[in-house]
Symmetry: C2
Subunit: 225 residues, 2 copies
């Protein structure tokens, strides 16, 4: 268990600022778990007692809204999960669920706090990360409220290809229902719109497998659709 964190290949930008002794302290106060696709990592409504760091994998942050479930965002590792829900309140305001097999570290809250208090560069990096997250959350919200189904769908297909899988061909890790929760549409509308995209030659669908055929046009739809 000695110095596991020191040699971790998936450090956050903040934890790259930790000293050897701090990393060693983190190793001693940290537990590693593997989650299978579908496993709940953080549960809305429960006490948040650890800092959660996603080393590898893909997860969804989601919360129950007034009418239905909503996926707030998707995050792939390496990245902290739920800093806001850990430090913003005692209780988790949202859930986190693996949508692909994921490797997660749970870091003791007090140890983490010590780093913030004693290592200003670490604290500053976290601070910056939170700022960027908040900006992104504003952008996501503006987009999801203003775009219609085809626009949001195109946007998210491009997001999967460009930011998650780095390939124009990928296995969609979400059901149609979940895709709907991500873009604020019903299961049926997602189905229909995906088929429209296929009929117009924008994409090719083979059940969960998606191939993006015309990214230029998808980009246009994402912007103005």
């Amino acid at each position: 268990m000695i110095d596991l964190c020191k040699f971790c290949q998936h450090k956050s930008k903040a934890s790259e600022q930790l000293s050897d002794s701090e990393l060693s302290a983190q190793s001693d106060n940290c537990a590693e778990y593997r989650f299978k696709k579908g496993d709940r990592i953080i549960r809305q409504g429960t006490l948040s007692s650890n800092v959660v760091f996603l080393r590898e994998g893909l997860v969804k942050l989601h919360m129950t809204g007034p009418l239905h479930e909503q996926i707030i965002k998707l995050t792939n590792g390496p990245s902290y999960l739920g800093l806001p829900t850990t430090f913003g309140d005692k209780v988790n305001h949202y859930s986190v669920t693996a949508i692909e097999d994921s490797l997660v570290c749970f870091i003791d809250l007090n140890t983490f706090k010590t780093f913030i208090m004693n290592n200003p560069v670490f604290a500053f990096e976290l601070f910056i990360e939170l700022c960027i997250n908040e900006l992104n959350s504003y952008h996501r919200c503006v987009n999801r409220t203003q775009k219609q189904v085809s626009g949001s769908l195109a946007e998210n297909l491009l997001f999967f290809a460009d930011d998650i899988y780095h390939s124009d061909e990928f296995i969609l890790p979400l059901s149609r229902e979940e895709l709907g929760n991500l873009i604020d549409a019903s299961r049926e509308s997602v189905s229909r719109t995906l088929n429209e995209f296929q009929n117009e030659g924008l994409i090719q669908i083979d059940s969960k497998k998606i191939i993006l055929l015309d990214k230029k046009r998808l980009q246009l739809i994402s912007q103005y659709g």
Copy 2:
């Protein structure tokens, strides 16, 4: 100009953690401005070069979406404005406009950074504030995407009464159009829904003046409408 900040009655929770010498340094590197209703305080797209602190007043954070303007949120003082846009990127991602006469302090960025680096309690307070902001932004987004016009409108009327004016009778500081930008509805829908509310005896409207008559029912509409 000596120690203006020290005796400021509108300190942020974070700046209450600053030492006398730090407050004095802040006084020396800080400028105070008064903005009239309608004045732009931060302009989307320009360089963000100062930390902006709203001492008194009421402002809207807003950004241009793919289709129209959207009000991200309303903030009243005392509160930092645009920490995310100041530290998250060099360029402002959103605008801030006074919707009531406001008193604002511009704090030198480097001075502020020094505080973060040298005063961990200050940094931690800011960190917590950002976390809470992000949680709130998630909740606002879920609500505005899932509720329909009457629900969002009821929610925001209650927000004005309870959180901004602390009175069930207030002068609405936004035009119908702006209210629409806040709840993702058209100007016309806002007009119509306000009138419905009046016809059902929920509120009384006298042009900009609003009186909430039945908050219980407004709460129900806010939840399930």
